[in-house]
Symmetry: C2
Subunit: 149 residues, 2 copies
């Protein structure tokens, strides 16, 4: 039997942070969520194109994990049958507050981060505006692609 195996933190702790790390406690999941929230991406190949260079197996694995965790869902592409369209659930969209907090923190504290000034300015002076814009864009996408029953 497995002598060494990591048990999910949610089995050992009641802390919400510990529970959250089971889902978003790795770089790739965070980057996929960023792609969807901030960059408005919806397709496998769009995720592949991000500069961080996720590999195919990792991407497939994380998409599955995020679906299981109910942060994202997918539908078939209405036009190209071989594609899927991924989109954020309410829980996934709500994660924007964490992403913006993280980006703001990095902007404030990491010397290696240097954003285009107009982006930095937004992040510092009007993060709420970023959140609202992102959520509006997602809503527009949903109205276009998701037929509500």
């Amino acid at each position: 039997m497995s002598k060494t195996q990591r048990m999910p933190h949610c089995d050992k702790s009641d802390c919400p942070v510990a529970h959250a790390t089971d889902i978003v406690g790795d770089p790739w999941s965070l980057l996929i969520i960023r792609d969807m929230l901030i960059l408005g991406k919806h397709e496998y190949k769009e995720f592949m194109q991000s500069p961080e260079g996720i590999s195919t197996n990792v991407l497939a694995n994380r998409l599955k994990k995020l679906v299981c965790a109910d942060l994202i869902e997918w539908i078939n592409h209405p036009e190209y049958k071989t594609r899927k369209l991924y989109y954020l659930t309410p829980a996934g969209k709500d994660f924007i507050h964490v992403i913006v907090a993280l980006a703001s923190w990095a902007d404030r504290n990491m010397d290696s981060v240097s954003l285009p000034p107009e982006m930095a300015e937004k992040l510092r002076n009007n993060p709420q505006g970023i959140i609202e814009n992102a959520l509006r864009a997602l809503t527009e996408w949903e109205e276009k692609y998701l037929q509500q029953s």
Copy 2:
């Protein structure tokens, strides 16, 4: 030579989220920071006692990483020469906004999270109060243990 090796995201991307994941894109780092910010922990053995069960090599490794990333520093324990006291730098303390955002998100969206009602109430209605309390506690600790020059 290593055929497969992960390059830090900061080398490939300018995104602040990508840069942040190089430091806090793993569960254990986040849990250590939570311990320091929310639970007021300062010692190796206190981190060891957290219910998630970090192991000694991982703890030592992460403490080093966090020192290198300038999120934490340490001094010798003034009383017990064999101990160290870890404490958060300004960048580390500023991370409280991310931790609280993450905890709030988990509280709102993860069914498996059920906080004591009085804690949940604070998180929902007065997260700013949590932040202020945490920062005040850290300042008090600093006044006690850090002689300012």
